[in-house]
């Protein structure tokens, strides 16, 4: 009985890893292989049991198709090498892309679905935010508004330049990532970031025990590690699959647009509508936060004009008390 259980376990691992790296690089070693071979052999009674080398093994390829490969052609690879492959693809980025986000402040009504889906995806504790919805008021006479604030993935990032170990870096597609296997927790980057986009894992991360077995994916930054820095990743893992980031697709009010500046197009996460980035920014007076710093952010805001709902937070329609009281 316990024998069978271990077989199942090894198969699960086999599929998990196979799904990451396709036919050529797949398999969790000889254990998985023998598990498969014996299972197939005994499973279909009456059929001739094929010799080990002729038996075929089912593998999930990277793009999600189920394929078969001869057992003899299977080359097992050690766990370290998957991590290496994940690391190198994570460091390289997607060629020819330049990701950007547009946040329409006139539509944000503090639903916080973006924050929830982000924290869920990146296994963050409740007090840690890769994206945070802030309450803003520019002046005591102006109407307050809600402002989601992710990492701005600056084209001239101050954070990557202060890292003494090259743990945080900018990729060719414009995304700024952190490799928490290199990070030594010095927090220079937190000090350097003018937008306070980074968080520190002061405590054991959420789901630390559950995630122990997981391979570290630098594009998802899961599992999180105590004593390292974490921040918004523009959902680099989702972009690789051609999907919009977690926060963008979670928003029910059409606040977020996301797209590629090299294609001059951004797609709304709620309606799926694609528009020209340059027109959207020009016609709606889009702006970036603190442009005077020269950081060249890749997150643009559309001003909170023609608001579709009044500002309301805990029954109050103003921030005056908090600011002046």
């Amino acid at each position: 009985m316990s024998d069978k259980k271990s077989k199942n376990n090894s198969r699960r691992e086999f599929l998990k890893i196979g799904s990451l790296f396709g036919v050529g690089v797949a398999a969790a070693g000889a254990a998985a292989y023998s598990g498969f071979a014996s299972q197939d052999g005994h499973g279909t009674s009456g059929e001739t049991i094929l010799s080990e080398s002729e038996q075929k093994i089912k593998v999930l390829t990277e793009d999600g198709t189920l394929a078969e490969i001869k057992a003899s052609e299977l080359t097992p690879i050690k766990k370290d090498e998957y991590t290496d492959a994940l690391q190198s693809q994570g460091r390289e980025g997607i060629a020819g892309k330049h990701w950007a986000m547009v946040i329409d402040l006139s539509r944000c009504r503090n639903v916080r679905a973006c924050m929830a889906s982000c924290q869920n995806a990146h296994h963050l504790r409740d007090e840690q935010h890769h994206i945070n919805v802030l309450r803003m008021q520019d002046d005591r006479n102006t109407e307050p508004y809600f402002m989601p604030k992710p990492c701005f993935h600056c084209d001239n990032p101050p954070c990557t330049k202060v890292c003494p170990v090259d743990a945080t870096f900018k990729r060719q597609d414009g995304i700024v990532l952190i490799d928490n296997e290199r990070c030594i927790g010095c927090r220079f980057c937190i000090a350097a970031c003018p937008y306070s986009a980074r968080v520190f894992n002061w405590f054991e991360p959420k789901d630390a025990e559950k995630d122990e077995e997981l391979l570290y994916n630098v594009e998802l930054n899961v599992p999180q590690k105590k004593g390292t820095v974490s921040k918004c990743l523009f959902s680099a893992d989702r972009l690789r699959e051609g999907k919009l980031p977690y926060c963008v697709s979670a928003c029910p009010n059409g606040v977020y647009y996301f797209g590629d500046l090299n294609e001059d197009a951004v797609t709304n996460g709620t309606s799926g509508e694609t528009v020209r980035f340059s027109e959207l920014i020009r016609q709606n007076a889009g702006y970036t936060l603190m442009p005077e710093l020269g950081t060249k952010p890749n997150v643009y805001y559309l001003p909170p004009k023609n608001r579709m709902f009044p500002f309301e937070f805990k029954g109050k329609t103003t921030l005056d008390d908090e600011h002046h009281g």
Partner: protein, 312 residues
């Protein structure tokens, strides 16, 4: 005692549920003042078009295609808003306020659509209303639009969609044809999506709600200055929107747009954190200083040894 409890609980539950049951069964009433509200957006082709775009984006997912009564199977069932019965029963004001306020499963669109957009949707629905009196100019153009619809029903499968491009003028021509008595016939009045393929979704280039003319043709210009990767290559896509009648018909065409500037983010991504980004001139200076200092020290030691051996 226990039995008594159950009965009270049940009756309380019944009382609580009663208004809900009432709602689902009775008509959704809007107050008189709201019903009498007049549509401030004039009934025009532009407004109807805008309303249609908004309807397709926001209402279609539940209420289904206009006139097809194929809404989601919810309870209560979302009405096909273009049914004559619905349009006769509801005033402009009441449609507008149902959209604005929402009720139970119908969400409020106050925060999602602007005033103008909601009134435009009312205009779009009214454009389907046979009893609706409209301004003469619009009314004159209306029968012309409806006549070819009978022709559409005649042309049968197989359908042909072709897409050709005039690269010099940045103009795309889409021709949609069906088969009639074994011959290719143009289909008029079919709505066709024409767009440029982008990473997440297609960027539409046709006018919203554009339909084929009597030759089955839609002509659109596309933006030649649109950036499109490092080589400027892009794919133009056309497909028939009404997949229920015609099935899934698509056409593709390669086009060349403006090339984007390549990114050089990796060149400057870190200061000197790793060897590949360390400036070569600093490396040479530093190494030569180290070499000079050590060679001077070595020279001193050797000379000391020499002096020692001379002194013997």
């Amino acid at each position: 005692m226990k039995k008594n409890n159950i009965i009270t609980n049940f009756s309380v539950l019944l009382i609580l549920l009663m208004p809900l049951m009432g709602w689902t069964q009775s008509e959704w009433m809007v107050s008189d003042t709201k019903q009498k509200e007049k549509n401030p957006v004039a009934f025009s082709d532009a407004s109807v078009k805008d309303g249609k775009v908004q309807f397709m984006a926001n209402c279609k997912s539940c209420h289904g295609d206009p006139g097809k009564d194929n809404g989601l199977p919810l309870v209560p069932k979302p009405t096909d808003l273009t049914l004559q019965a619905f349009l006769d029963l509801n005033t402009d004001g009441s449609i507008y306020h149902k959209m604005t306020d929402g009720q139970i499963t119908m969400p409020s669109y106050k925060a999602i659509l602007s005033d103008q957009q909601r009134w435009s949707i009312v205009n779009f629905l009214r454009s389907m209303d046979k009893n609706h009196k409209v301004a003469e100019s619009v009314a004159a153009s209306k029968p012309q639009k409806e006549a070819p619809k009978e022709e559409v029903a005649i042309a049968e499968a197989p359908y042909y969609l072709s897409l050709s491009v005039d690269a010099a003028k940045n103009e795309a021509t889409t021709v949609f044809q069906g088969t009639l008595n074994g011959e290719k016939t143009a289909i008029e009045g079919a709505e066709i999506f024409i767009g440029i393929k982008r990473y997440f979704n297609n960027l539409p280039v046709m006018d919203a709600g554009a339909t084929t003319n009597s030759q089955g043709i839609i002509k659109t210009s596309y933006p030649g200055d649109l950036l499109s990767g490092e080589d400027g290559k892009a794919e133009l896509i056309a497909y028939v929107i009404d997949t229920e009648t015609y099935g899934e018909i698509t056409a593709h065409q390669e086009i060349t747009l403006s090339p984007a500037h390549p990114n050089h983010f990796k060149d400057t991504r870190a200061l000197w954190a790793d060897r590949s980004h360390f400036p070569w001139w600093l490396m040479i200076t530093y190494l030569s200083i180290v070499l000079i200092v050590w060679s001077v020290m070595a020279k001193v030691v050797i000379n000391m040894l020499k002096i020692k051996s001379l002194g013997k």
